[in-house]
Symmetry: C2
DNA sequence: CATTTAAGATTACATTTGTAATCGTTCTTT
DNA sequence: AAAGAACGATTACAAATGTAATCTTAAATG
């Protein structure tokens, strides 16, 4: 029932399916080949594990399978973000942004986007 | 050299040492007892693993050890944040904040803090 | 002083993860 | 039709992780 832990390697495979849905195993292999050094067998294993975990599913297309995600990227991202922010910043985003700002340099564009975001928030809430 | 992966369980132990530095094993056990169901032995194991990983160290205090972290929470947090934001938000904080804002409700205070942060940034950079 | 106790060290063991190789079957291709 | 290629299923195996129990030794206690 609860969040089926998705490992790092599994995430990379799932990520491909979020981009290209549905996709055959070889589609995934192709896509990942550009930035990962994984053997085809490894990717097949990861697909299988994701299926077993109920994170993705597939439909038989003749002999191949067409895989597709069962969870939305937005949902996954939201959950991960919540637990991350909870774990490292006591649930507050401001210190996260603050730390990020001193660490990685924010661009003027980034700041403008944040301002727009806040402006939007203020418009909505009040 | 590289970031010595700190597991979730290990993190909770390290977190105690960031709060209470230095601390004996039993101090850590005591502190964690309030929110974790861990056996004392388990915590000792985790302390040992952190030492082996070079994340913490200790000084012999008679028979007990006094443990202390070797890495700063801020540094760890900064690194984790960078990889997290890189993995889920292509390195951009704005979408993280945006997603967080729609998911968890931001309080007026949160927004004010963010505004202050941005104002500060603008003052510094320009 | 003898014994119980408590600290850290060592060992244990199932599960998860990374990373494949092998197996059993079907499509292909000759 | 025979042989090879390609697909998913099954099996492999070491390292990491969660979660302790046992061992060794020294300190505390009767």
């Amino acid at each position: 029932m609860s969040k089926p832990d998705i490992s790092n390697a599994e995430f990379d495979v799932l990520d491909v399916l979020w981009e290209r849905n549905p996709a055959s195993a070889s589609d995934v292999v192709q896509t990942l080949s550009s930035h990962k050094e994984w053997h085809e067998k490894t990717i097949k294993t990861l697909l299988g594990r994701l299926v077993k975990k109920g994170v993705i599913s597939f439909e038989k297309q003749q002999r191949q399978y067409l895989y597709y995600p069962l969870i939305e990227r937005e949902d996954y991202t939201a959950q991960e973000t919540e637990s991350f922010v909870g774990k490292l910043f006591k649930g507050k985003i401001t210190p996260l942004v603050a730390g990020f700002a001193t660490q990685k340099t924010l661009s003027k564009d980034d700041v403008n986007e944040l301002k727009a975001l806040i402006a939007q928030w203020e418009e909505d809430n009040d």
